[in-house]
């Protein structure tokens, strides 16, 4: 009885993966370039959502500042692309510097000439910044709503700093990537975008497995313990500060990767990545998809953003209302998010309400066991 169930589950899982991989391979031929590019961007956003799920869904840290790490990753990628495509411009430095009369490359640009450094910087720099901010905040036992406010304040600090630094990083205009070259090809070209789509799809799956590995077992249980009762974790002999710093740093690193992928597919990185609404949206994706489900974070990010672009095309002014309504609906009717609702008792309760399923009279586990016992 239980054996057949396991086999059944395995078949579902296997067919899920086959369909998924087939879709990823076929997407570039099935979808027009414009749609493919949008899908690629939204998939890259699902990586930052995975990070939000790790820190909020599992550890209970509601960060409203993930945009910082997202933008840092984006800037790292954009700086590399700009500097390696600058050979035809005066002084061999990116074009925008000339606008502000800068003739010498600012020192922190230098290491971004190296592809290896950039590749590491995209996730290590955001992870280190997150780790540092996190450690200082957690060490002082700042939590709950104060933590959320603090992360949002940090976001504003970063936003204003990046916005004002024309001579260093082109300030409010941001850094364009679509007209830069990578391996002799234009980054914004169709063939490059197709490759970026595949890279994104692979990295989403990799990030998903990584996140699953992190929350599996005792490490993940401690995170849940910190979310539910932090003092208890402390009195059991664990130091929550270290655990929280590690997971916040991991979420920062994921945000960085996400930001870099998003940048190369949208063609620009700018301080707009660090606006307050965007970081709040990241939280909404996870809330709607399902906190603490990982897959829910991915689906939430992709579907909400796709809905956003479809709705915005049809009814330009109404998306904000729909998004707000969606959030209110989830908070009031589906506090566990859509996936959490499906995994829980949601569908059964709904069927019962319409009289389509027998009501449970005792505990669900007893009821199910008895039924299966009778069948045998």
């Amino acid at each position: 009885m239980s054996l057949s169930k396991i086999k059944f589950d395995k078949k579902i899982v296997l067919s899920f993966w086959i369909i998924l991989i087939a879709l990823i391979i076929a997407a570039p031929t099935l979808l027009p370039v414009f749609r493919l590019n949008l899908l690629g961007r939204y998939l890259s956003l699902s990586i930052v959502a995975l990070g939000v799920d790790l820190i909020w869904g599992y550890t209970g840290l509601l960060s409203l500042g993930q945009g910082i790490f997202f933008a840092l990753g984006g800037y790292c990628a954009a700086m590399y692309l700009q500097i390696t495509s600058a050979s035809e411009f005066p002084n061999n430095i990116p074009e925008f510097f000339a606008l502000y009369g800068v003739e010498k490359l600012p020192f922190f640009w230098e290491p971004f000439r190296s592809p290896v450094f950039t590749f590491l910087a995209i996730w290590i720099i955001p992870a280190l910044v997150a780790g540092l901010i996190g450690f200082l905040v957690f060490r002082n036992r700042i939590k709950g709503v104060y933590f959320s406010i603090l992360t949002q304040a940090s976001l504003l600090v970063f936003f204003n700093f990046f916005n004002g630094q024309q001579k260093l990083i082109n300030g409010t205009n941001g850094l364009k990537t679509d007209v830069t070259q990578l391996f002799g090809q234009m980054v914004g070209s169709e063939s490059m975008q197709r490759i970026f789509f595949w890279i994104t799809a692979i990295l989403v799956i990799a990030a998903w497995f990584f996140a699953k590995w992190v929350v599996k077992g005792r490490f993940g249980n401690i995170l849940i313990g910190i979310r539910d009762d932090e003092p208890r974790v402390r009195f059991t002999g664990y130091n929550p500060v270290i655990f929280k710093t590690i997971i916040f740093s991991i979420a920062g690193g994921l945000a960085g990767i996400s930001g870099a992928l998003y940048t190369v597919q949208s063609g620009i990185v700018s301080p707009q990545f660090m606006t307050v609404p965007f970081s709040i949206e990241m939280v909404i994706w996870v809330a709607v998809g399902g906190r603490g489900t990982l897959l829910g974070a991915i689906l939430g990010a992709v579907f909400i953003n796709y809905a956003k672009s479809l709705v915005s095309e049809a009814l330009p002014a109404s998306w904000m209302f729909i998004q707000g309504g969606l959030f209110i609906l989830v908070v009031t009717a589906l506090p566990e998010g859509v996936l959490g609702w499906i995994q829980g008792d949601g569908p059964r309760n709904l069927l019962q309400r319409f009289g389509l399923k027998r009501k449970i009279e005792t505990y669900p586990s007893l009821e199910v066991n008895n039924k299966e016992g009778n069948n045998e």
Binding site: V214, N221, I222, I224, Y238, N239
Partner: protein
């Protein structure tokens, strides 16, 4: 060996903005001792535990545990030194299973690297099995702790406490909300733990304290009013006045 002092509280004073929760409290615990602490509401029983476990820093005074001062140490460091605590209302991780709860408690070392890298040791799994048998939760291994009954939650928390292998167990109201039968079993369990471990039990329930058959410290207004066996303190005039009422009650 048996007469060795494990815990020494010297002139502990805790002041919350002028209100003295503890006032020059002195208390000694020998290794292997079972000690009951009673007192009326607001006597400072829970603050007394908070001071030992590092949750509250005393305004004055010194806490010596195994020859080391505990004052100013972080909670998790004190826990690692060997002080375990069970809370008043059962505090277990409701979204984890019984087994996962116990894993958290028996795991050593409690570092992130150890947790993420290695799987749990066999001896720790055996210890979990043993603990679940002691508290009658073997049938519930994979149930969510939140689905347990109140009494089972209390026992799970006691099992988690034992799993930590502390030298000193601080048990705050372990029988609150338990049935008479469960209360008796809990008393036997705590008695069986002393000897090897040092146990401090805080409670209101006089029947339960009597069953523990141990030395009793009576707290009142943040200080130790009286110490001795149940018989002695029941005859003590001061104790009768503040707490017990007339013997006929």
């Amino acid at each position: 060996m048996n007469n060795k002092v494990l815990l020494n509280l010297i002139d502990i004073t805790v002041s919350f903005e002028g209100f003295l929760a503890l006032n020059k409290l002195n208390l000694n615990l020998k290794k292997g001792e079972l000690r009951a602490v009673i007192g009326p509401n607001g006597a400072g029983k829970t603050t007394f535990l908070d001071v030992i476990t590092g949750k509250v820093k005393p305004t004055k005074g010194e806490v010596i545990f195994k020859g080391k001062s505990l004052v100013g140490r972080k909670e998790h460091k004190i826990a690692r030194l060997g002080v375990g605590r069970k809370f008043q209302s059962p505090r277990i991780f409701e979204n984890l299973t019984v087994k996962e709860n116990l894993e958290i408690s028996v795991t050593t070392p409690k570092s992130p690297l150890n947790l993420i890298n290695k799987s749990i040791k066999d001896e720790q799994l055996n210890e979990i099995d043993r603990l679940m048998k002691i508290v009658n939760l073997s049938q519930k291994v994979d149930s969510k702790a939140g689905s347990l009954s109140h009494g089972q939650k209390q026992w799970l928390e006691i099992a988690m406490l034992v799993g930590q292998k502390p030298d000193l167990m601080l048990v705050d109201e372990p029988v609150a909300g338990l049935t008479d039968e469960e209360t008796d079993l809990t008393a036997d369990l705590l008695k069986s733990l002393s000897g090897e471990n040092t146990v401090v039990v805080i409670d209101h329930d006089m029947e339960f304290i009597r069953r523990l058959d141990s030395n009793v410290s009576v707290l009142n207004q943040g200080t130790v009013l009286c110490e001795g066996t149940m018989e002695t303190i029941q005859k003590d005039k001061k104790v009768i006045d503040v707490y017990l009422g007339r013997p006929e009650d």
